[in-house]
């Protein structure tokens, strides 16, 4: 045998073709979004199935930004999503740490209850939630959305954070405590820096969930001032027509903060930070 056999070019080609097909399939809706966003109004129906319109325009974008309330929706969404992500991650980190490190009475019960909350379709509880929010006088406020989103995301985020804490050896904390740290110091100086990927992932997950949530936003918000962007998108649907071009342009713009957010946290998502801690 003369060295390692090279894989046949056919195999390689096949592999890349499969990957390309997969990526194409996943990205096609995004491509279509962009395509319609740049298609001039008069061509939308006449060239509906062409892969790229014969003329492209940015008019939809300028209209959306300057002539609609979209920037307001945007601000609302950013505020709601960021606050929800921060609050959820903070609470989930605390709870996840406790579940990972401490034994206490009722721990398994709390975990079971948290799991149960994940089993119900949201539609089932939308009416009671509406009643509660209304009674609290929080209808049409961003606060209500933040509270509801935070509540719904905490169980999953807690499980996520717990698994991240579980993956950090207990020895590290104990070593820090032997080195003179209090438990809190050990958490801050040793555990927290190692949990950054976990915090990043949780932040990202909750942010996206809040950013794209429609159901509760639709139910709890009616006034134009406090609409989030998914609800705002629906304003492009009028009784007699749908303004596809502007709607898609708004959709493209809505992707931007999500992308920025993930670019920002992606360096914390890099794995392997804990390697080298224990064993050889």
């Amino acid at each position: 045998m003369a060295g390692i056999r090279k894989p046949s070019p056919l195999r390689t080609a096949g592999k890349y073709a499969a990957l390309a097909a997969y990526v194409g399939f996943a990205l096609f809706p995004l491509y279509w979004l962009l395509k319609i966003a740049v298609t001039p109004d008069q061509l939308i129906y006449s060239e509906g199935t062409r892969l790229w319109p014969s003329a492209a325009t940015l008019a939809n974008f300028t209209t959306v930004v300057f002539q609609t309330d979209f920037l307001a929706y945007f601000r609302n969404s950013v505020a709601v999503s960021l606050t929800t992500a921060a609050a959820t991650t903070l609470i989930a980190a605390g709870a996840g740490y406790a579940f990972s490190r401490f034994h206490f009475r009722g721990k398994s019960l709390i975990i079971a209850v948290m799991l149960v909350t994940q089993m119900f379709p949201l539609l089932m509880i939308i009416a009671p939630i509406y009643k509660i929010v209304a009674a609290a006088g929080l209808l049409n406020s961003l606060t209500s959305l933040i509270i509801v989103y935070t509540a719904f995301n905490i169980p999953f985020a807690t499980f996520l954070m717990q698994s991240f804490f579980d993956s950090i050896p207990k020895d590290l904390e104990e070593a820090a405590m032997m080195d003179g740290c209090t438990r809190f110091q050990a958490l801050r100086k040793v555990i927290l820096p190692l949990t950054l990927p976990g915090l990043g992932a949780t932040l990202g997950f909750v942010f996206t969930a809040a950013w794209s949530e429609l159901l509760f936003a639709l139910m709890l918000i009616n006034s134009n001032d406090t609409m989030t962007f998914p609800v705002g998108l629906l304003t492009f649907v009028s009784k007699f027509s749908v303004d596809w071009g502007q709607m898609m342009a708004a959709g493209v713009l809505a992707l931007v903060p999500s992308c920025l957010f993930f670019i920002f946290i992606q360096r914390y998502l890099v794995q392997g930070l804990t390697s080298g801690a224990v064993k050889g």
Binding site: D171, M177, M178, A277, K279
Partner: protein, 356 residues
Amino acid sequence: MARIELRNVFKHYGRTEVLRDISLDIEDGEFVVLVGPSGCGKSTLLRMIAGLEPITGGEFLIDGERMNEVTPRNRDIAMVFQSYALYPHMDVARNMGFSMEIRRDAAEKRRVRVTEAAKTLGLGALLDRLPKALSGGQRQRVAMGRAIIRDPRAFLFDEPLSNLDAALRVEMRLEIARLHQRLAATMVYVTHDQVEALTLADRIVVLEGGDIQQVGTPLDLYERPANRFVARFIGSPTMNILEATPTETGVELKNGARIDLPQVPDRSTARQLGIRPEHIDLAGPESGQISGVADVVEHLGSDTNIYVDVPGLGPLMVRAHGNVPLRPRDAVSLRFQTGNAHVFAADGTALRSAPV
């Protein structure tokens, strides 16, 4: 430096009793090794000394001061973990100096101490590396450096060598022995490896099933094991244990061979005879007490291990000094060094030899 005392210490996890009535005095500067099979409670005992595990009952004192409720950070004890537990996001220098950082020692003082410790451990060139860029032996050294730098009252080692390969283990064992000589500090060391225990310890504590089986110097345990468990746990290859019944002058084995044991005055409760492989001599056909057939012969160069099949008695392990020209299925005659034989009662307790 510190004197460590355990007084009637108990440990329960719920209803499970892990340690029972442990009393132990560790002198200032002493090197004590806790040894026993896995699950015997040795690591738990160490962690209780460290303060990482609450003490269920009894008292734990350092220099006469009750420590049961004192947090790990205030006990001033350093610990080297089996997993090393290096902080992965800090370089070697910061790992080693972390305790001083927490104590808010001046940066300059910290640097001097770290450099000094790194030099003695041969880590000088690695100070700005992260743990993941170190080999197993280097990580082990950093973990030791982290302990040394604090100048603590006592050192605890939790199976520190078990993740290293055989050659490195011998080397690090030597370094720990040197460290103890240099610092003359109180050290408590947990291992399941009897060679580490025998080579490092001033005194060995043998634990099994949550009880202390015996405390003594390595030679004590080898020469005068308190019971069958210790007798078989210490020493390699393992001691032969043979069923026996007491006679006028000694014991009789199952195959009818009689062994005189004048050094054990009270033999009435004797049920078993224990004899180490190195305490059985190959003899001429006439002078042997027992004869059998060699089953497997292992030539180690310095010694020869012979597994002998004795009719009516079963297998017997013999270790002969030097290279013995024996082959499997050769007939062998054996003679016990009766002065080195041990006798056990039905419950496993060793019947004490009269002082020779």
